[in-house]
């Protein structure tokens, strides 16, 4: 019963940086996904040109989406601050989308 050569030892629970369900303080980059992969996968499958997506691809998409949500919330908040408000409103989001190039793909999609 020799150990498989070259294999990574099974991580001890808690020893690794992040385990399932663990929530590190602040959105550290190396955290696991919070968005359920099944829902992300459903969106991926909605594309008729896509045949298959690896689990890793779905995972990276989920994480990317989380980073996107953080980014757009922060960018929209700048406009709320300009309006001296502590509540983020829809118009703040519209302003961010209009002003920021990376969000151009969203134009016309949120109505």
């Amino acid at each position: 019963m020799a150990a498989v050569a070259g294999a990574v030892p099974v991580p001890v629970a808690g020893a690794e940086a992040a385990g399932p369900g663990e929530e590190a303080a602040g959105a550290g980059p190396a955290r696991l996904a919070r968005l359920p992969l099944a829902r992300v996968k459903a969106l991926v499958k909605a594309d008729p040109d896509v045949s298959l997506a690896s689990q890793e691809a779905v995972f990276v998409l989920a994480r990317a989406t989380e980073l996107f949500v953080e980014t757009i919330a922060k960018d929209a908040y700048v406009y709320a601050q300009q309006g001296k408000r502590k509540t983020l409103q829809r118009k703040d989001l519209d302003n961010a989308i209009e002003a920021i190039d990376e969000f151009a793909f969203l134009e016309g999609t949120l109505d």
Partner: protein, 143 residues
């Protein structure tokens, strides 16, 4: 059941939590804004998928992989996501490997075959395995 892709929403509670953690304490978000961000997130997934798929097709592959998604991020001008995403992916791969090792220990018969494979294609192996599992799911859906 949602029919249109744009109607496939991500869970509100999770989206809300991500937004709240990104903003300073004491900042609120209106229902309309939260709902719009949620929708934007769905559109993001759809757009990123389409972009990633182009890279897969260029590579003559039918399966989207992680690096296709990373390439899509660069294409979409979200390069600053790439670093953090790679780190997350490393953690995810280690976790998946741990799970796989646990499965291997149970299935001793397959061990000798696995040894040769895992030496050459440590990373690809996981992907392939996932593909096989995916295929079982995909068989019913004709895309």
């Amino acid at each position: 059941m949602a029919e249109r892709p744009e109607d496939l929403n991500l869970p509100n509670a999770v989206i809300t939590r991500i937004i709240k953690e990104a903003l300073p304490d004491g900042v609120n978000i209106s229902k309309e804004a939260r709902s719009a961000i949620s929708r934007a997130a769905s559109v993001f997934v759809l757009y990123a998928t389409s972009c990633a798929n182009n890279f897969a097709m260029k590579g003559k592959r039918k399966t989207l992989n992680a690096s296709d998604v990373l390439s899509a991020m660069e294409e979409m001008e979200f390069q600053r996501f790439v670093g953090p995403l790679k780190e997350s992916l490393e953690v995810y791969r280690r976790e998946q490997k741990g799970k796989k090792e646990a499965r291997k220990d149970k299935d001793k018969k397959a061990d000798s075959e696995e040894q040769d494979k895992s030496r050459e294609e440590e990373n690809d192996d996981d992907d392939e395995r996932m593909e096989e599992e995916e295929q079982n799911d995909e068989e019913e859906v004709d895309n």
